[in-house]
């Protein structure tokens, strides 16, 4: 069973290079929609451990990674396949929509 991994500016690259399909959840402690979306992301991480790795990046502590992807709104989800950003979701969404996007991208 896979779970959400906390990534940072130092190890982010190794995580996205180390798995063909990655969802990155950019969040901050003050972002309440981010907090409320987390259980849905946990379910996705747990139900597709082979298919996808789910990372979370705290934007307050990891400005390099957030700037690299021009993240200026939370929550933002990036869908990265083979090291390349394929699509993103900006704003709060339900897990069904995340799963749907994952299926379209992967």
């Amino acid at each position: 069973m896979s779970e959400i991994i906390s990534a940072n500016d130092g190890n982010f690259e190794s995580f996205i290079q180390g798995h063909p399909m990655v969802i990155v959840d950019f969040w901050a402690p003050t972002c309440m929609p981010c907090r409320l979306m987390e259980p849905g992301l946990e379910k996705i991480a747990a139900s597709h451990p082979e298919k996808v790795r789910v990372l979370k990046v705290n934007v307050n502590e990891n400005p390099k990674t957030s700037s690299r992807f021009f993240v200026r709104t939370l929550p933002t989800l990036l869908f990265i396949k083979d090291g390349q950003v394929r699509t993103q979701i900006v704003g709060a969404v339900n897990p069904v929509q995340i799963e749907k996007t994952l299926n379209e991208v992967s």
Partner: protein
């Protein structure tokens, strides 16, 4: 997952969750569908100070989590999925979601409202790149920067006050010469050195390539448009009701709101409404909660008549 329900509540904000508590306690098989996050739009705010019963400001997400848990305590099922179709079939209602279908004897529609946008050039292109609808979420990106808040109601002023803790300068841009917000919030804004108000002004364009760089602001008194350098712009110009699923079922006004009375019934049998989808709702959590309870009690009366 159970397919057949007594009540399906569309929307998991204050109205929907308050209704859910009452439906659960009436021992009705109750499903709540929420398309974004449980708690509704209020969870985008950092504090709530006027919800009766709390002497100190509370975090809206905490309040709404408690409401959700309270409903689950009475057997209500909360499903984070979007209602995509709503159809009357014989004596029941059918609700379509992505890859699934449910039926219910009654529907309690409390889908709330969505952020209103200006619809001017650059707005959608720069959404998420400086243009935002959630100061609580995005304020940390604007530490020491210049931001603008568009609007003049409670939400706009709360956003301005929150942003003033991070940004070097906050400009509140309002299209009128006076604010609609609570007087206590106005007082705080006027006293805050980092916030200035631009009266009788409207944003006509959001400028920037990779990210927001400036706003074109129309001064309605002089009819002149001037660029204003800006790193972030937060929209708080009201909402539009999420009533797309109701348009062929009930009477809506010209702005898409449901027209009903205190009964919160509609002309469609077994379809009740609640919260911000209703014409005249003043967008307060306490009001939506009360309406949710009212709709749930009337819904229960309807279900009892079918028993």
């Amino acid at each position: 997952m159970e397919k057949n329900w007594d009540v399906i509540i569309v929307g998991g904000g204050p109205a929907g969750l308050a209704a859910a508590i009452y439906c659960g306690r009436a021992l009705r098989k109750t499903l709540v569908l929420e398309k974004k996050v449980f708690g509704g739009q209020i969870v985008f705010s950092d504090i709530i100070e006027n919800y009766p019963g709390f002497a100190e400001p509370i975090v809206p997400a905490d309040l709404m989590e408690q409401m959700a848990k309270q409903s689950e305590r009475y057997g209500v099922v909360l499903e984070n999925d979007e209602a995509l179709g709503l159809v009357r079939e014989g004596e029941n209602w059918r609700v379509d979601v992505y890859q699934n279908t449910y039926t219910a004897k009654a529907i309690l529609y409390a889908a709330g409202s969505a952020h209103r946008f200006l619809g001017v050039p650059g707005e959608q292109e720069l959404l998420g790149r400086g243009v935002s609808v959630c100061a609580t979420c995005d304020a940390p990106f604007f530490q020491g920067k210049k931001v603008a808040v568009l609007g003049g109601g409670d939400t706009a002023l709360y956003e301005a006050l929150h942003l003033a803790k991070f940004a070097s300068e906050v400009t509140l841009i309002h299209r009128r010469g006076q604010l609609r917000a609570e007087r206590i919030l106005q007082e705080r804004v006027f006293k805050n050195d980092r916030i200035k108000v631009l009266w009788d002004s409207e944003v006509q364009r959001f400028q920037g390539a990779q990210k927001l760089e400036a706003l074109d602001v129309l001064d309605k008194k002089t009819n002149r448009v001037e660029p204003m350098a800006c790193d972030g712009a937060f929209l708080a110009i009201g909402t539009i009701p999420n009533t797309g699923l109701l348009k062929d079922l009930v009477q809506l006004d010209e702005n898409g709101y449901v027209v009903t009375d205190i009964s919160l019934r509609t002309e469609a049998r077994g379809l009740f409404v609640s919260g911000e989808v209703i014409k005249g709702n003043r967008r307060q959590v306490a009001i939506s909660v009360g309406m949710g309870v009212q709709a749930a009690l009337n819904c229960e009366e309807y279900l009892a008549s079918l028993d």
